[in-house]
Subunit: 313 residues, 2 copies
């Protein structure tokens, strides 16, 4: 077995961090290690956390992690939100909270950028989930930004998706209707000490009524005040109940297969793109074609045909 | 020449709409038409509009479009934001505004979903830009959601990128620092009748001071009240000034080549992914591999190797 893979399985945090960096950089070494660890994965419960900006997702994730730690579970945290306090923008109160968490040996925190990748959710996220899973984490929490492609992708990775809202929705109701509704396994109205909380709960509940009328499970709507550790126990209980539900109705297997499919798509996409756009034997050819497209000597579709003709059997 | 392509060149709105739908569906007919129209493109000024949710982007786009219409320019509008009023969620005031615009023969409006695509900004956007360009639109306005991958991608398409903010930033300052700063060609503080506008302008100006200290152009920060058509003339003037700037310093060519590169990447990605995951001769094989990954009989990286080995020369 690959040495770094062996050390990941021994839960060595330095090996975990290194393998993640290797996968982010598309290092060749990484794929060997990834091949070795796959058969030790599949135990972690992957929880996606998304929702409106300023909803307090990071604080909530901290408190969920702490609650799971009390139950003796090991926790991994992945922040894909560039504006997340985990990514460096923490206010003082949050920073203390996160420092405490980061000191805990049963917790591994990693923040990832979304920039510079050729489309899609930070493609290395699939790898990071596998690495944390193999390293014995029971719970993996993934934080993503509020709106856009990322949420659509998170549902492919997460077993359970939490959607975080705050009182006084306004624009957010549009957002929910436009996509968050379908992906939410649990709704959380955080900052529930703010005015208007009951109206917001009622609004979300009525959306849930419409959406879940034909489902065998009704999406719960919970109130939390993460900063005061209020409602967190109940939330963690709901998360565990959701996992049991998935296991009982076999949806767990379906979700996992969807994740592996998305992961396979992503690996193949990355390989092919690197093959075409990074390998030196194609690079000059591609640059020449782009120049020709610009000069209208060829169109982009015919240029693509030419490149594909060179690489496909 | 392909018939639908010929009709697009004649500015027939029905042909434009049909060709867009064909490209969205990945119809084979589409690529023939796309090949035909490319040499008639390159004239449109492509303007990306992004920024915080609730910033009034759609209203602003309406007013920018109207101002360009007064100057006799033909305008295309592409809304990629699923929460955009262009996509159906308009409040009454906005709806009247947009209806008026939609009735104007010199305007073509198209809203596009971001869901269901295998990563990246709605991949068909490149095609839609080419189609609108070929159909004689002088100005193409693209609206995207506020945070995430979409903004990073928009810079590859747009010649000029507008970042829309509102007074009382709070969280938004984080957002700007986290990525919007680099992509903004013009900052707009919309809803400038709200309290705190001067402070917000000052905050953004000081960020611009830091960012642009080594640049030959300082990113302008403009105030608008789009609902009252306030500041729009000045904004459109700045947009035109930016285009002249790009032309003068040759950055226009560089931006265009980057767009064609991104477009080429996207066409190739789409072709390859369809080839592997949609063509029936691979579909069964892929499904079998996903099942094996799930059962830990194979890992995702080795599965990817197997598929790539079958298709690559």
């Amino acid at each position: 077995m690959n040495e770094i893979a062996a050390n990941v399985l021994k839960e060595d945090p330095r090996a975990i961090a290194r393998l993640i960096t290797f996968t982010e950089n598309g290092d060749f070494e990484a794929s060997n290690a990834m091949k070795d660890i796959h058969r030790f994965t599949g135990n972690a419960h992957v929880i996606g956390v998304t929702g409106v900006m300023g909803g307090g997702k990071s604080t909530l994730i901290c408190e969920i992690a702490r609650e799971f730690r009390k139950k003796g579970k090991k926790v991994g945290i992945i922040a894909i939100d560039p504006t997340s306090p985990f990514s460096g923008g923490a206010l003082l109160g949050d920073r203390v909270r996160m420092m405490e968490l980061a000191m805990d040996k049963g917790v591994f925190i990693r923040s990832m950028g979304t920039r510079g990748m050729l489309g899609g959710l930070a493609s290395a996220v699939y790898d990071v989930v596998e690495i944390l899973d193999a390293s014995g984490k029971d719970i993996i929490l993934i934080e993503t930004v509020g709106v856009g492609q990322a949420e659509v992708d998170i549902i492919k990775i997460a077993d359970t998706t939490l959607v975080v809202l705050v009182p006084g929705l306004g624009d957010s109701v549009q957002t929910i209707k436009a996509g968050l509704m379908e992906i939410a396994d649990i709704f959380i109205i955080n900052k529930a000490d703010r005015p208007g909380v009951n109206q917001t709960v009622a609004e979300v509940e009525s959306l849930v009524d419409i959406e879940c009328s034909n489902e065998d499970r009704r999406t719960p709507v919970l109130k939390t005040i993460a900063k005061e550790v209020n409602g967190i126990k109940e939330l963690v209980q709901e998360i565990e109940t959701h996992k049991k539900y998935l296991k009982n109705c076999k949806k767990f297997d379906i979700k996992r297969k969807k994740r592996y499919e998305a992961e396979l798509v992503e690996i193949i996409r990355k390989r092919l793109m690197n093959f075409i756009f990074d390998e030196s034997k194609f690079k000059d050819k591609v640059e020449l074609l782009i120049d020709q497209i610009y000069k209208k000597e060829i169109d982009p579709y015919s240029a693509a045909d030419k490149i594909l003709g060179k690489i496909l059997k």
